[in-house]
Symmetry: C2
Subunit: 475 residues, 2 copies
């Protein structure tokens, strides 16, 4: 027992050294020169010139049971039965889930604040609070009938990473901040990463939200007010953050692809995030009675939509790159009766690529197909709206290095990879150096109830996140 | 004034004669032999050997303003804003509309009863009540975002036809009965002509209704109970009518096609009703994240549905006959999120033809396509269910003759035609001689808000219906 305590004390003392691994720039300073080392010595009461303890960081302890319990509890705030999860922006379940997250932040001793769109921040103040903080986080909203790990691992995992560092006795130099972003999923208003886009200062988005309604014709601001958030555009603009508000942002997330699991690798270090675009298309025809209107006299908006859906697949495949994807996730027919020819159809198309130019060619082809189909079928192309067409984001080299050395020090297999799914990191990259940590998930499944990540893989991710945050905090 | 009264009296007296025009069989009887003529003489107090009054029946008066007002009032019982009409089986608006119709029946002096599925009957007793009555009617339910004339003209028009005959001083020999059929549209439970199918004694339907739910998972019986109708299968079976319960059934309806309007003809005399079939199809794939799952690893249930929708069109066109139609009016994707690959899709297909054999070939081709698509895309074909596959129905010659001579006596242009849309008449034909009267409608539009029939055309239809009912009543 005594021995253990002494050992832990030594760990505590020598922690800063290990955190500096991977920061040669800082190591090149003499200990005296380095303010962090100085403070560590004051704090520990020991000079830090002892020999290296290679196993120290690997003894960082994650509270596996609490973390799993929290993931399971959070999944119960859902509008569809387990194992599926459905948590839509500003819904009752979303508001309850937010309260749950805020409570966890407070239990971890973080000072909690919320902005007007509902981004939630939990701050652990560093001993040099005037420096730009290091931030981490993800989202907890869930598309209809999806799973309980997407986003959630990066929020609950971030809070646990703070607990890990606190248990470890670590004191951050730069403050550490956990962020729960509002509505990473576009489900309700068709806009992805609503919270992080606004943090990044998207003024066009603020303007457009004034006219944005959900499929029940509820306006964005009505929905926001109902959850006690923004009343108007002015309040929404107050959400913007200046560039440099954070010295770094790191997001922990399940891969949502099969690579790590297939290759048996514990940690994915994301070097770039693919560039997503989303498009809304509306066709209109004359409709009519399914029995009475003869085939030659029809202009069926539903068949126009069916053709365009197949064209999206064709154009994505034509790109010649495995990295190009195109999906029609939403296809609605009006009036939607078996004996009525569809008079209107609405599609929502998602296409992405790690190569923005290549993806934009696909968008152009989809547009051309929509025009051709509308002409061929005598159906009006009422709308072809590119909702967003974001550029890809690159991870910051120094953060990639921090994540790599953290993985190494934890003796975890790791590889650099690309994120084909987009994340709040894509938008945080506009105002802060960014990096992402991936962990394996079952068969790469995501956005469905079968989505699963083992608690061991989650634990590895939390440790790498904790160590990376510590390194960046001292930087 | 006095003159008019005498003229009306003469009309009254001589009416029976004109009603007999078009019934050579009966005319061949001597007046003495014919019980109807005998009764007419007793009733009128005049021998009916006077000369013919060619204009008499043409002076039958329809209360145009009340009828238009009723059509407009009934259209306000809708779940969507005017000019669209949405009235779904057993919904609050459906129940209110039913009450409205029952009141109109009572105001016309009809004795009203309802059966356990909600078919509403309004009886005008004839002077030989032991004879099988002549019936007429249609439906008032409306698919989402449809119009206010489909069905309604055949219900409110039938009640007005009774008023016309009463104003005319006509006394029916056989009782006349107006029927408002429950749920001609398949909207809620996917079953068309629910009320008339049950009247025709469809036992398989009664059994299947025990397992039938709507898209909110409300069971049929739960919905029926909520509107105070059938509690169980036994009550539902009580709806069945014996063959021969009616001596004739005649339905007045808008054409729902462009032919009468284009050719400037007032009355369509239906000789046959096309044979409809409806099919439900469900595909299932693995779904997944629209960004993370690469194109070659997908089995997209939505694209399978899109391909099948286009195949339905192809197979209908391949039949080589203008009378073959195929429609996908319902296509739902699950989970229905822009960034999620559809893991499930549901289609509802309607295909019909006046040639049952030709239509069944189309159904077989659609099934084959569903199998091929599922194999090609690695998507499961969870279900391919032929919900109904009804034979066509032929109008009864004697009723066609009655409708023709009624049109002639009213000096209305008319033509024999086929009904491509199905109607309750299709099922009434199983238990009663059947006929249908069509009137023109704007551009043949139906099942959409633009659906329109002029009050003049409706009036013509009501007159032909009234005179036809009178003829059949005396037969």
């Amino acid at each position: 027992m005594m021995v253990q305590r002494i050992y832990l004390l030594l760990l505590l003392v020598h922690l800063p050294l290990f955190f500096f691994c991977g920061f040669p720039a800082i190591l090149s300073l003499s200990d005296a020169e380095d303010p962090a080392t100085k403070t560590m010595e004051d704090f520990s009461g020991y000079p830090i010139h002892e020999p290296h303890f290679p196993n120290s960081v690997s003894s960082m302890s994650v509270d596996i049971h609490s973390l799993q319990k929290q993931i399971d509890e959070l999944s119960t705030f859902s509008d569809t039965p387990a194992p599926s999860v459905t948590r839509i922006l500003y819904s009752e379940k979303d508001v309850l889930a937010r309260r749950y997250v805020k409570n966890l932040m407070r239990l971890s001793g973080l000072s909690v604040r919320e902005d007007f769109v509902g981004n939630i921040f939990g701050l652990w103040e560093g001993y040099e609070p005037e420096l730009a903080p290091v931030s981490t986080g993800s989202h907890i909203d869930a598309i209809p009938y999806s799973g309980k790990y997407d986003g959630v691992v990066g929020v609950l995992g971030a809070i646990e990473a703070i607990n890990v560092l606190k248990r470890f006795g670590f004191k951050p130099r730069r403050s550490l901040e956990v962020i729960m972003f509002t509505s990473e999923e576009p489900t309700r208003f068709g806009i992805s990463c609503l919270g992080s886009r606004l943090l990044a200062g998207d003024e066009a988005l603020v303007k457009s939200l004034d006219r944005t309604v959900d499929n029940q014709n509820v306006t964005f601001f009505h929905a926001a007010r109902s959850a006690d958030y923004a009343n108007d555009q002015e309040e929404l603009s107050s959400v913007f953050l200046k560039e440099g508000s954070y010295s770094a942002f790191v997001e922990l997330h399940i891969e949502q692809g099969p690579i790590l699991e297939e290759e048996g690798i514990s940690i994915g270090i994301v070097t770039a995030i693919a560039a997503p675009a989303s498009i809304k298309v509306d066709f209109e025809g004359n409709g009519g009675h399914a029995g009475a209107v003869l085939m030659p006299n029809r202009n069926d908006a539903g068949l126009a939509a069916a053709e365009l859906a197949l064209a999206v697949e064709k154009h994505a495949l034509e790109s010649g790159s495995i990295d190009t994807v195109g999906t029609v996730g939403i296809l609605n027919l009006h009036p939607g009766a078996i004996n009525s020819i569809p008079s209107k159809s609405h599609l929502e198309i998602d296409t992405r690529d790690i190569d923005e130019y290549r993806r934009n060619i696909v968008i152009e082809k989809i547009h051309q197909s929509a025009l051709n189909i509308s002409q061929k079928r005598g159906v009006k192309l009422l709308d072809f709206k590119i909702v967003n067409q974001d550029p890809p984001a690159l991870s910051e080299k120094s953060i990639v290095k921090a994540m790599e050395s953290a993985s190494q020090e934890l003796n975890l297999t790791h590889k650099k990879m690309i994120s084909r799914a987009y994340h709040d990191s894509l938008f945080m990259a506009r105002i802060s150096p960014m990096g992402m940590i991936f962990i394996p998930c079952y068969k790469g499944y995501s956005h469905k109830p079968e989505e699963f990540a083992s608690i061991e893989d989650i634990t590895n991710g939390v440790k790498v996140l904790a160590l990376t945050l510590a390194k960046l905090s001292l930087h």
